[in-house]
């Protein structure tokens, strides 16, 4: 069975997490490290995917700055999204050649991990045909945006646990006129570490790998 190291980095700036991912992707390409699964929580940040549309950013950058929201273009897939406190951002850095050379299967599996973890908290989440992400009653609870370079994945998903959903007013999330939701908005106040524990468990199951927690040391 393949190994996957996971760790919760806690609060980390988007740019810092981006640099860490890049460095881990390079190491993974060279085969120096096993698959990785990082968890972070970003401060208020809006990111725009490479193919995102600026018009989905509803607020001027000045407004964002005043509201304390950082803005970053990103090389992940998908359109625009918001990250912030109360959200679990998961970045799997895995070599798809050792799993399946199939980016769609990868995205569907990431969705499955979130769906199964939410089910453990009594939340019945699912997919919406043609709209990547994880949905509960027509509202998006987890967004997905992935980058792949030589079959190595980076970026990943953002699951709203207790996210302040009012920050989504600055954007058209993922370019879709659909509502967003969170575990808290559905009546759940699961603790971050508890949700991460379930995500790790289901990730190991869905991707058939052995999960080992790594101390949060700098790489």
């Amino acid at each position: 069975m393949r190994n996957c190291s996971w760790r919760d980095l806690g609060r980390m700036d988007y740019a810092e997490a981006f640099d860490l991912q890049s460095s881990l992707v390079d190491q993974r390409k060279r085969g120096e490290i096993p698959d990785q699964f990082l968890f972070v929580e970003h401060p208020h940040t809006i990111t725009l995917g490479r193919n995102g549309h600026m018009e989905n950013l509803l607020a001027h950058e000045d407004v964002l700055r005043r509201a304390g929201v950082a803005f970053h273009p990103s090389d992940r897939g998908g359109d625009i999204t918001y990250h912030g406190p109360g959200q679990i951002v998961g970045y799997p850095i895995i070599d798809l050649r050792e799993w399946k050379r199939d980016v769609v299967a990868y995205v569907r599996s990431i969705e499955q991990v979130a769906i199964d973890a939410l089910a453990d908290f009594g939340i019945s989440a699912g997919r919406l045909q043609g709209m990547t992400g994880v949905w509960v009653d027509g509202a998006k609870i987890a967004a997905i945006g992935v980058h792949i370079s030589r079959w190595i994945t980076s970026h990943g998903f953002a699951l709203n646990v207790a996210t302040d959903l009012s920050y989504f007013q600055y954007i058209v999330p993922c370019g879709l006129a659909k509502p967003v939701t969170s575990m808290a908005a559905l009546g759940n106040i699961a603790r971050r570490e508890h949700v991460i524990e379930r995500l790790v468990f289901h990730f190991g199951r869905v991707f058939d790998c052995e999960m080992a927690e790594l101390g949060a040391v700098a790489v």
Binding site: G49, R50, N51, D75, R76, G77, G78, K100, R101, D102, V103, V104, A105, Y106, V107, R108, S109, Q112, V113, D116, A119, D120, F121, T132, G133, I144, G145, V146, H147, I148, S149, R150, W151, A184, A185, L186, G187, N188, I189, A190, R191, H194, H202, R205, V206
Partner: protein, 467 residues
Amino acid sequence: MTDVVMPQMGESIVEGTLTKWLKKAGDHVERDEPLFEISTDKVDTEIPSPAAGTLSEVLVEEGKTVGINTVVARIDDTGGNGARPAAGAKPAAGATPPAPAKSEAAAPPPAQPQADGGQELSVAPGKGEPDVVSSPPPAPEQPEPAEQAEAAGPLSPLVRKMARENNIDLSRVRGTGAGGRITKQDVELFLSQQQAAPRQPAAPPQAPAKPAAAAPEAPSAPVQTPPAYAPPAAASQAKVRVEPMSAMRLKIAEHMVMSKRTSAHVTTIHKVDMTKVARVRERQKTDFQTRYGISLTYLPFVVRSAVEGLRTFPLLNASIEGNNIIYHNEINIGIAVALENGLIVPVIRNADEKNVLGLQRAIVDLAARARSRQLKPDEVQGGTFSITNFGSFGSVVATPVINQPQVAILGVGAVEKMPVVIDDAIAIRSICYLSLTFDHRLIDGALADQFTAKVKSVLENWSEEVL
């Protein structure tokens, strides 16, 4: 020349959108150097160059979607390290079996067998044993004598009631009303004749069927086998009515007496100023109703505050087993729900993971299903603390009985506006009395009051968002 093709990035993928060229025509590229990017379903992928050389032709422009294996560019590698095998960029499609990304869904909770005869759930679990009492075979209620009197024509509700109360077989009553209908007078006449004549008791009361599961789990309880009542003397017939207890009633009776015998019950009462909560509720209840389709009551606020108290004072969330204290890591709160002829205490599991909305939803759901008898056995088990909301019936203060094997229960009185003295001035505040009954074997008064004070403080300084 090496052809650069649109790679297949997965089993089901037939096309890809070329989103960005990372090199321009004429640029030199190294083998494996990122050449362009494609996008499929929220995934952006960098495609490395299959060969080293000069990007001589760009055939597909940015933003175009083309089928897989379409040639998107050509690389002139003649000037480079000699000819190279083409199509290096095609990541060996089909190298891996299509194994669907399906996960073995976690086994769904086993469907609860819903016994045909309709189940009754006991009030509270004894030691986590399955606590389903299959009720005795379809409760042979007193046969409705009235129903048998078909020949006598339609019966008035009054006659039916009299027949039922006096246990009269109406087929034996002669009707003198229109079309031979039995009237009130006919029944009275029949009764007086019956009392005059020595008679055998009509339809002896059903010997109370002992609930099948009642005996095994009650730890020390000498289960009161209901005394087999001797048929009441004929003369008393009209003064009392004998009816066997339902299985649920027996279970409640047994459980209450067992609790009183087991625990050293003490009740402490704190006065709580609910004005802040009342304001939050007043402000949000319309929105709450519109948004979630359920009304917002005081109870979830109390449950939420009790959870905080239990987190701070875990002994209140414990139970006693022999000479050991069992601390429960989960906070599962039982909510007493009044039924028509009994009560049941369904459990909100992991109540500490729910906010006011989640708690209100759970309360509404459990209460509704309790009333329609649709609770699953595990939904009335595993409680670690209970709350009873007698305030909803207008009670201001009561002293609840502990729900074994728990060690405390919180009673919530009605929230009422009252004049109170604040800083030597009289003000109108929304006041509620919280009664905590605790087991003095494990919890001393000081701790009980610290706990209740904590609950009170969370309520009085309410700060959580509700919507």
